[in-house]
Symmetry: C2
């Protein structure tokens, strides 16, 4: 039970951007977290496409948050980055009624849906703003 | 965010065993769920080693539950089968303080630890007995 590396990178990138007053470059974030640039680029493109991050060209360009940290839900970032939130094979939409002889009356899915809801509810209760205090000093040079 | 296939197999095997009055064979469970035998064997060996399942040799041998379904916690089965419950890289024990410049003051881990606790608390509230009713008719031939 692990989140995608992309989710991990997205969250750390947002924390980094949340602590900066000016746009950051990909090279800068890549170096700060020792993340492969191409992987970071893909993640940033997803964040830009979803309207969480803004990418600006030009001499003083770079990437920055599109909203105030308090408006960026951690649950939404996880939903965006996790391409597959189906904990069990039978929780995938296309698996309904055709993957297991226990279906469709099995209670396994219901229990795991409830557990996942409890998980996401906790994340939905937090925003990027909750992640920022206490870390500011570590990143400022 | 997915559980290991082994966890999936373990849960379905336990549901199967919970519906049988006599021991089941590996071949039988393998066929019922279309699971590769070698993979199922590995999972069953883990369940036997943990004392969740008993394996009996002999003519009427096979595998069966070591406890009543109401005594088998779904949370415990997930903990047993998931070799890695660290959602983020920095949640691994050996990653403390050395994986990210945000450490050790970062609040990311705390939020995800809380979310995971909510997830596991839900599973800890369920036992194998909760998974059995309603599925009996599907498996009996």
């Amino acid at each position: 039970m692990q989140l995608n590396l992309s989710t991990d990178i997205a969250l750390r990138t947002l924390i980094y951007l949340g602590q900066k007053d000016e746009p950051a470059t990909i090279a800068e974030v890549s170096e700060a977290f020792d993340i492969v640039k191409t992987h970071l680029m893909k993640v940033v493109m997803q964040l830009v496409a979803a309207g969480v991050v803004i990418s600006e060209r030009g001499r003083n360009g770079g990437i920055r948050l599109a909203h105030a940290p308090a408006e960026i839900s951690i649950g939404d970032v996880v939903r965006l980055m996790e391409s597959n939130l189906a904990l069990l094979y039978c929780m995938k939409e296309d698996a309904l009624n055709n993957c297991c002889p226990l279906m469709p009356n099995c209670r396994l899915r219901k229990i795991f849906f409830n557990a996942q809801k409890a998980f996401m509810d906790t994340l939905d209760g937090s925003t990027l703003a909750d992640l920022l205090p206490g870390t500011k000093a570590k990143l400022k040079k």
